[in-house]
């Protein structure tokens, strides 16, 4: 067809179609008498148009699903079913049938009757089975579940006799307007409580969706529990029970659904609540659609929606708990914390999801349980709109005033960091003007002023007038305390002892003295109620020197109170012993304290689980008012990401940890990695084992021992690592086959294993410097590489012992070469030299390098450049015959870990196939809620 002919055809056709058929036909035939093909074409068009309606008449998208033709009886008011149930009014029509309000004439109560669509194909035998099931369902008795009283038949139809529930369905509610976060959470929690209950009774819902959720005055109620199955929806034409968009993949594929299928459906409902629209059924697109959900909740939803049931939440109760914890509802009275056993059980999965690390659970909880009951009430405070909390190590925690009326905290709006005041009982926090850069605020005893550190000044602000005055000069500020006599005791810098100054201002005078040989810092002072004694933390390298101390204002000599290694909050109480509250094993713990004898009690009470201990400064995020209000938590936890890159440096997957990691070490098969979790209090850590298939994170050593630097045993059946214990360092080998850990080497100097190849375990040792003078400004220590030679009765052998630092030794996979770093040219560079034989060193890095890693066949080295402005992972090929390293090739940038994360261990490792695993600081961490608790001694 050409355009010209087409135009002729159009004209002719348009004219022809206006005529009676026979005439139209004639017109065409005449017009195209000499053009056979166009004539046929036009005639065919006329014939086609005459055939009547065509799908082209209707726009394509005005579509309907071919519904099964299924009819439920229409009942008029007054109809009586089974001589007992009188239909009053039609309420709703749904996919399963029509619902009526009705009266049970026998029991004289209002009920609902659902007339179910006829199911012609359900055989009587099956029907009997369903009746059995109905009995199970009708046993369900829970405020969140609409009760099914009975299933009745009449005239071949089934009638579900149900509890009458007044309200609107969630589907209706959603179509009116979106729900707030708080409303959504409340509904979610209600639903999960109901699901949890039903699941425990062995009943699964199978068709959880908004139209099956009734919103009533007393909360959300689930309708149609298990009825999808009852109805035999899964029978005709292979259409699975349930509603496709809400159904778990296994339900659609028609394998047996279980409680986890309900979890999936719940996830779809929750996602719909939180985003306002159904999540995409395509997992690849779905997560992007969920990105508007606040982070912890988002992770929770994603876990609900896992394709594989094994990857989902396994239990509605756990899920509910996680949601409650993750949802920080500002100004909502959070329900009392409940069911701590569950919390404990949850801890493993929550560690990644809601950043809750709950360590071993112990007698402390039992002790807490014995405290006399009184309602514990919690409320959560989030940073004001548009602001963030800061990490507690930077800005200090939220602090309640002694009179219990206000909470002061530091928040950051863009780059502006200032104090904010949040009156208890008011929803509106207010910024305090002229408090820019404020950190670590503390209250005056009359609650009228707040002192804070700001730009090398100790300042105070009077709340009523807003007047800000300088008290004295300081350095960074490590806490202060203000007594009723107008004295302020504070710590000026992170390596200082305590000073004392008048709150009116003046020149500070030393209060305590630092024993520089053993102690690092005195900090976080707290006045006792007498205003004459100060509790404070001494930080020291060794355990015996660090802890909680007390000094009298008159002489300043520290007296040891106990092995408490965080700051304390002093809880003054009228009707019982005073308490000190502090952080221990990721928990806020309280111990009684005798304010006269200055002695601690024995029974620790766990007051709260901290989501994460996010401080390197020994500051406990807890304060207590004299009126007994406890405030804890908050901050912005430091996090890290563990990221897989392909060999070209493209990110392929990542996971988030609520803490920093280092010393990554992939197992030989690259299926798992050992890594060190940095306990930032002392720069040491504990060792974890991360598997990916399936994902599993296991703790190998606990934080108490302070273990670090894991390296795999050559057999892959365990690890060697260093343990900092009792002032000495042990190099320990552990095994996964249950053999008790074995100490390989014990030294007073710090020893750090860096590689274990065959019979050689290479380690770094920190020795007093032989040559470096203090005047060079360097530490008076040097680091050498040594090895344990298991082939020679585990003798230790010096490997590289120059006056410079030789570090980070890695043996090549062929066992012939050693890669390491040395700073003998003053810049740390990566070198390679023959391992345990003579030969010169080849320099690999050009402008400074560290953290060398061999490639799988010993032909290349990966390393990090040391340029702080251009820190990158490089790969350099080695020609070991010409003894030359090729020009390193940059693969991907790796940002510097935040202070005080020392680049002491490997931040990455490379798998045999060239994929790269990197631990990265997480720049997008989120504020954690501050929790305000009344009756904090009440059981949770």
């Amino acid at each position: 067809m050409n355009a010209e002919t087409w135009e002729r055809l159009k004209d002719a056709y348009a004219a022809a179609i206006e005529l009676p058929p026979a005439e139209g036909k004639r017109l065409i035939e005449e017009t195209f008498a000499d053009d056979e093909s166009t004539r046929q074409e036009a005639l065919a068009m006329l014939a086609a148009a005459a055939r009547g309606p065509h799908f082209l008449d209707q726009p394509a998208l005005q579509i309907n699903r071919l519904e099964q033709i299924a009819a439920a009886p229409e009942l008029s008011p007054g109809t009586i079913i089974n001589e007992r149930f009188r239909i009053d009014d039609a309420i709703a029509e749904g996919g399963m049938g029509r619902v009526y309000s009705a009266t049970d004439l026998e029991l004289k109560r209002r009920i609902a009757v659902k007339a179910v669509h006829a199911r012609p194909r359900v055989a009587d035998r099956l029907r009997a089975l369903l009746r059995q099931e109905a009995q199970v369902i009708s046993q369900l008795n829970h405020p969140g579940i609409c009760i099914l009283h009975d299933v009745r038949q009449q005239d071949g139809f089934d009638y579900l006799i149900m509890e009458f529930v007044d309200g609107e369905t969630l589907a209706e509610r959603l179509s009116r307007k979106p729900l707030s976060l708080a409303e959504s959470i409340r509904i979610a929690v209600d639903l999960l409580a109901a699901l949890d209950y039903a699941h425990r009774q062995g009943v699964i819902h199978r068709d959880l969706k908004p139209s099956n959720v009734m919103l009533t005055r007393s909360g959300a109620k689930l309708l149609d529990f298990g009825i999808a199955k009852l109805k035999g929806y899964d029978e005709p034409d292979g259409i699975a029970a349930g509603t496709p968009m809400y159904m778990a993949p296994e339900q659609i594929s028609q394998s047996a659904p279980d409680v986890r299928s309900d979890i999936y459906s719940f996830g779809v409902v929750l996602a719909t609540l939180l985003t306002g629209s159904l999540p995409s059924s395509d997992p690849a697109q779905r997560n992007a659609g969920l990105s508007s959900i606040p982070s912890p909740l988002q992770q929770i939803v994603i876990k609900c929606l896992a394709e594989d049931p094994a990857d989902r939440w396994q239990d509605a109760g756990d899920l509910r708990c996680a949601i409650e914890l993750a949802s920080a509802e500002p100004l909502e009275l959070a329900a009392q914390r409940r069911n701590l056993r569950r919390l404990k059980r949850l801890s493993a999965s929550l560690a990644l999801v809601t950043i809750i690390a709950i360590a071993g659970f112990s007698l402390a909880w039992m002790a807490a349980r014995r405290v006399p009951p009184a309602a514990r009430i919690e409320l959560l405070v989030m940073p004001p709109e548009g602001t963030d909390f800061l990490p507690i190590e930077n800005a200090g925690p939220a602090v309640i005033s002694p009179d219990g009326r206000n909470v002061v905290f530091v928040a950051r709006q863009g780059e502006i960091q200032k104090l904010w005041l949040r009156p208890i009982g008011s929803s509106v926090p207010e910024p305090l003007e002229n408090t820019e850069t404020a950190s670590h605020p503390f209250w005056s005893p009359d609650s009228k002023s707040i002192a804070f550190f700001s730009a090398k000044l100790l300042r105070k602000i009077e709340l009523r007038s807003g007047k800000v005055e300088t008290v004295c000069n300081i350095e960074t500020g490590r806490g202060g305390t203000w007594n009723q006599f107008g004295d302020i005791v504070f710590s000026s810098d992170y390596t200082d002892a305590l000073m004392r100054v008048s709150a009116k201002g003046g020149t500070p005078v030393p209060f305590t003295q630092l024993d520089a040989a053993t102690e690092n810092s005195h900090r976080w002072p707290v006045f006792l109620p007498d205003g004459k004694h100060v509790l404070f933390v001494i930080r020291a390298q060794s355990r015996e020197h660090r802890g909680l101390f007390l000094a009298s204002l008159t002489d300043g000599t520290p007296r040891r109170i106990g092995q408490i290694e965080s700051s304390v909050a002093y809880a003054r109480r009228q009707d019982g012993p005073d308490y000190l509250l502090f952080v221990q094993d990721s928990k806020i713990v309280a111990l009684t304290f005798d304010r006269r004898a200055h002695t601690l009690g024995n029974d620790a009470v766990t007051v709260a689980e901290l989501n994460v201990v996010d401080e390197s400064t020994s500051r406990a995020p807890v304060s207590v008012s004299d009126t007994g209000i406890l405030v804890y938590g908050g901050g912005r936890p430091e996090k890290s990401r563990l990221v897989w890159y392909d060999s070209l440096g493209k990110e392929t997957s990542s996971q988030t940890f609520p803490w920093r990691t280092r010393f990554l070490r992939l197992s030989a098969d690259s299926e798992s990695a050992a890594l060190e979790r940095i306990d930032i209090r002392f720069g040491t850590g504990s060792i974890f084992h991360q598997r990916w298939n399936p994902p599993k994170l296991a703790t190998l050593t606990d934080a108490v021992m302070s273990t670090f630097a894991p390296v795999w045993r050559p057999s892959g059946s365990g690890l060697a690592f260093s343990v900092d214990q009792d002032g000495a360092f042990n190099l320990v080998a552990s095994s996964t086959d249950g053999v008790a850990p074995r100490i390989l080497l014990k030294r007073d100097e710090m020893i750090t294993p860096t590689d274990w190849f065959d019979q050689s375990l290479v380690y770094e040792i920190t020795l007093p410097s032989k040559a470096k003078s203090v005047s060079t400004g360097k530490e008076p220590v040097q680091r050498d590489l040594q090895l344990i030679d298991f082939a020679d009765s585990a003798r230790t052998v010096p490997l590289l012992t120059s006056d410079a630092d030789e570090r980070l030794g890695r043996i090549s996979p062929d066992g012939k070469w050693l890669a390491y770093t040395s700073d003998h040219t003053t810049v740390e560079q990566v070198y390679v030299r023959p391992f345990r034989s003579e030969g010169r060193a080849i320099r690999v890095s050009v402008t400074g390098g560290t953290q060398p890693v061999w490639n799988h066949d010993s032909t290349g080295i990966y390393f990090l450049s040391t340029d702080p402005d251009d820190r990158r992972l490089f790969e350099s090929r080695l020609n070991l015959t010409t003894l030359k390293a090729e020009t390193p090739k940059g693969i991907l940038p790796i940002p510097k870990p935040p202070k005080p994360g020392r680049a002491d261990g490997w931040e990455y490792d490379v798998a045999a196939d060239g994929r790269i695993l990197v631990t990265l600081p997480n720049s997008v961490s989120e504020s954690r809620a501050v929790t305000v608790v009344q009756n904090w001694l009440a059981p949770r």
């Binding site: 355009a3 068009m45 082209l56 209707q58 394509a60 005005q62 579509i63 699903r65 908004p210 159904l278």
Partner: protein, 189 residues
């Protein structure tokens, strides 16, 4: 107005001037948005909700431009571009369903009328796509009309505005195009 709607306006203006690159960029944007909207609507709770293509387009338009009252000139052009996109989406769906049918899987969506009788099967849509490609070789404008009417659900008046032609012309062109397509589809089965 958001940044992205600025971008889109810019793209739209460029396409008016005949910038092919801008048009393909715009197509991609609209495609994404429409696809998302259509997918979410198709998976609304009950399948028997009617999907109104114009409503869909309107929503996409509002979302993309973030402004309720933009001039008709922009809007019509947007609709013209969108109609193409809708065609792609629906044909893709049909192809997808067809391939799924062979592998079993989820109950498929068919084009049916309100009474539930099938109006267009996947095969019809795919045949329509082929026929439109053929038609476009000698009457591209007619293809636009079909796209606007059948895929984007516009009325004849609206189509007239979009293509800047009279309603009568639209009517006539549509009648011819439909007849020809009906003929093509009948012979392709």
């Amino acid at each position: 107005m958001t940044d992205s709607s600025n971008d889109i306006t810019e793209l739209l203006n460029k396409t008016v001037k005949g910038d092919r690159l801008a048009e393909s960029a715009l197509l991609e944007l609209i495609y994404e948005e429409l696809h998302r909207l259509a997918a979410s609507q198709m998976r609304r709770e009950r399948y028997d909700h009617t999907l109104q293509p114009t409503a869909l387009l309107n929503e996409a338009y509002m979302r993309l431009f973030d402004q309720p009252n933009r001039t008709w000139a922009n809007r019509s052009h947007f609709f013209a571009v969108s109609a193409k996109v809708m065609r792609n989406i629906l044909i893709d769906h049909a192809r997808h369903h067809q391939s799924q049918k062979q592998g079993g899987g989820i109950p498929r969506l068919a084009l049916t009328d309100v009474q539930g009788s099938i109006l267009a099967a996947d095969a019809d849509l795919i045949a329509l796509d082929t026929a439109l490609d053929k038609l476009s070789t000698w009457d591209p404008r007619q293809v636009r009309i079909v796209e606007l009417r059948f895929f984007a659900g516009l009325t004849e008046e609206e189509i007239g505005k979009v293509l800047d032609i009279g309603t009568r012309t639209v009517k006539r062109e549509w009648a011819v195009a439909k007849a020809w397509l009906q003929k093509e589809l009948a012979s392709s089965v």
